[in-house]
């Protein structure tokens, strides 16, 4: 693909999607909770900007989605997480990551894998934004990787929510957005999920007195 041949709009979408992917990497390697929440908020901003750019090409209901994403993913949810972190006194805590270099390198490998998976889809069509499918799949998979590799409840939530970002990006860039009913439903589910996560932080910290996932190991087959 020759980037210079693309229209300015497509190039802008591409750059923004790449920045969202970059935010995924910074989420992956960020040890401080507050900074990680900021990275997540920035990723939300990128996705909202992509949505606005796609909306510019004449799909008006995407303005609604862009607004929803901006308010939900980059303002409301980060704000809620911030408040929780403050209430649970975890602001200054840093999570230790075993092998940060390996973590990020594996992430890079996953991105390449995602491009390989998306290869047959891209060949289908010449429109460059379809290339964003690979990038958004990479954001989804990196979110998954983050949930596997990081051991804190809050970072797992961030991974989960960034997966949602990737899905939304895929929907916007590859299909010009899903029907509005579906997008509203998905946004509602994300909101409820975010509230439930908040509820759970308190339940977990109350009943198990830690937010470290490694200590969530009461239910296994041996000790029954």
């Amino acid at each position: 693909m020759n980037l210079e041949q693309l229209s300015l709009l497509d190039q802008a979408i591409f750059v923004l999607a790449a920045l969202a992917l970059l935010a995924s990497f910074s989420l992956l390697a960020q040890t401080r909770l507050t900074a990680a929440i900021h990275s997540f908020a920035w990723q939300g901003v990128m996705v909202a900007l992509v949505t606005t750019l796609v909306a510019l090409s004449g799909i008006h209901h995407l303005y609604v989605s862009a607004l929803l994403t901006l308010s939900l993913k980059s303002l409301l949810i980060p704000w809620m997480l911030h408040r929780l972190v403050r209430r649970l006194d975890m602001e200054s805590e840093a999570e230790s990551i075993g092998h940060p270099t390996l973590l990020v390198l594996a992430g890079a490998g996953l991105v390449i894998f995602c491009y390989w998976v998306a290869l047959p889809i891209e060949r289908l069509d010449m429109i460059s934004t379809r290339n964003v499918i690979a990038v958004s799949l990479a954001i989804v998979v990196l979110g998954l990787w983050m949930m596997v590799a990081r051991r804190r409840v809050v970072t797992q939530v961030l991974g989960f929510m960034s997966m949602e970002n990737g899905l939304f990006l895929a929907a916007v860039a590859s299909t010009r957005g899903m029907p509005l009913v579906v997008e509203l439903g998905v946004a509602f589910d994300v909101l409820v999920a975010a509230i439930l996560f908040g509820v759970f932080f308190f339940h977990i910290s109350e009943s198990i007195e830690t937010l470290d996932v490694d200590l969530l190991n009461r239910l296994n087959e041996r000790e029954e």
Binding site: V140, L144, M178, D189, A193
Partner: protein, 494 residues
């Protein structure tokens, strides 16, 4: 009820009204009865809907699509919802009286019970793949707080695992849905219709095989997590064992079915599209592989269990695996068997969980080693458990024997070698179940063990139905299932 559409609206939206209503009703006894009344109303409305569809044909209107396949699951869902509500009213009142949960949480429980019914019915009836996804995710969200209702560290942990694993799984399913929409946009004249199942099904053969193939993998992993397919099954035993018993009954009896239904609908889209590609049967083969592995892992895990509810949740994994395998195999006989198995498994498994609820109450524990002599202490519960397990293990004359027999017959015809695995898996599962259940039923009862107030009506009704289905499937139901088989597999068995 006048038109079929109004019956549909009553069926689907009564539980939604119930959420609002039960969220504000503070008196516990009233809430329990109200919950029961609502489920009865839902069941009546679903019967009206079913008869309307049976006589008037498919119903496609305002983003709802009702055909023989989903109406049968709608009736099943509302029926088991009703019988579970009959069981749950005195059971949960007892739990509350013992002080295990507060009144506020009882309020939450009743509201979310209806919320769960709503999301499942919406998932079953909607014509829109996006709404289907939203509803299945909604079902997770509605049940996650029910699993952690007791707020013990174990239940919070179980709910967290359930939330995270199903959340991730279902996110992958959304990616698959996006890909389906993407493929539809290349084909359909009106791209807005790109998620409407009935429109997609009509032009499924034109969809791009490569994209649909990739999409189906994501959808299989995504919805398969909710079905409880190995290796995405880790949430299932935890959630089923730590939640309150009525929740285990509906999770095992209904939610797993809804997820499998979603897979089935998507397979119906993927198959005609894949037929033009390089690997035409890949969707079915993938389902067979996942199903068979789940079946084997489920039946092996039945051995030497210590927690009675965990044991029966592994049995759910085993049976869901068997159904996925049957649907993956395709063909009229296997499809018919899978549909029948869905029905009898739901009825039997929810009956078992109700009985287990009483049994754990009698013994005061969920540990198998400490549940002893049920049949001496309370013959009703003892016999209920014994007969329920006989039914789930596939003993004739119960219905599960019939459906498992059909699955094996279909396997013999097309994949003879796999029937060896199936038969040995069934034998292993049988040994595991009976090895654990026999001492619980017949063993010497502890000194001070006393009978509890048990409501065995749902169990009796369910087991009688399963028995009836095993002895002679009524012609009406057989025709109905045959109609569904024609819809899915192209030709019927009758």
């Amino acid at each position: 009820m006048g038109s079929p559409f109004s019956a549909l609206l009553v069926t689907v939206f009564t539980p939604l009204a119930g959420v609002a209503l039960l969220a504000v009703v503070r008196t516990l006894s009233v809430a329990g009865w109200l919950n029961l009344g609502l489920t009865v109303l839902e069941f009546m409305a679903s019967l009206a809907l079913a008869s309307a569809v049976a006589y008037g044909g498919d119903l496609t209107a305002h983003s709802f699509h009702i055909d023989a396949l989903n109406v049968y699951l709608v009736v099943l869902t509302t029926f088991i919802g009703m019988t579970t509500a009959i069981f749950s009213r005195p059971y949960m009142a007892q739990v509350c009286a013992e002080g295990r949960i507060t009144r506020q949480r009882m309020q939450l429980y009743h509201a979310m019970f209806q919320g769960f019914q709503f999301t499942m019915l919406l998932a079953l009836t909607t014509d829109n793949l996006g709404v289907l996804w939203v509803a299945v995710e909604g079902a997770t969200l509605a049940t996650v707080l029910l699993v952690s209702l007791y707020r013990t560290p174990e239940s919070v942990e179980a709910a967290w695992k359930y939330f995270i694993l199903c959340g991730v799984g279902i996110a992958l399913a959304l990616f698959g849905t996006v890909l389906v929409y993407f493929a539809a946009q290349q084909v359909l004249a009106d791209p807005e219709q790109g998620l409407t199942w009935s429109v997609l099904h009509a032009s499924a053969a034109q969809l791009d095989p490569t994209v649909l193939g990739i999409a189906f993998v994501f959808l299989l992993v995504g919805y398969g997590t909710k079905v409880g397919l190995v290796p995405m099954h880790f949430w299932l035993p935890d959630a089923h064992s730590e939640g309150p018993t009525p929740v285990s009954a509906v999770l095992s009896g209904l939610l797993l079915n809804v997820a499998l239904y979603a897979l089935l609908r998507l397979k119906m889209l993927a198959d005609p599209a894949l037929a033009n590609g390089s690997s035409p049967a890949i969707a079915g083969h993938l389902m067979m592989a996942f199903g068979l592995v789940s079946f084997v892992v489920g039946s092996l895990s039945l051995q030497r269990r210590h927690n009675i509810k965990r044991m029966f949740s592994y049995s759910s994994i085993e049976h869901m695996g068997l159904m996925t395998f049957a649907f993956g195999m395709g063909g009229p006989l296997a499809t018919f068997a899978g549909l029948l198995h869905m029905l009898v498994h739901s009825l039997t498994k929810s009956a078992i969980f109700v009985t287990v609820g009483h049994a754990t109450h009698i013994a005061g524990t969920q540990t198998i080693e400490h549940i002893r002599g049920l049949i001496h202490t309370q013959p009703g519960v003892g016999w209920g458990l014994l007969l329920g397990v006989a039914a789930i293990a596939g003993f004739p004359p119960f219905g599960i024997f019939a459906s498992e027999f059909l699955v094996i017959a279909a396997t013999m015809a097309s994949w003879p070698w796999l029937s060896v695995i199936l038969l040995s898996g069934l034998a292993i599962a049988f040994a595991g179940l009976f090895g654990n259940v026999q001492p619980m039923v017949y063993g010497a009862a502890p000194e001070n063990q006393a009978a509890v107030k048990a409501n065995m009506l749902p169990v009796v009704v369910h087991l009688l139905l399963v028995l009836w289905l095993g002895l002679a499937i009524p012609a009406l139901l057989a025709n109905w299932l045959n109609q569904v088989t024609v819809l899915i597999a192209g030709e019927g068995v009758l």
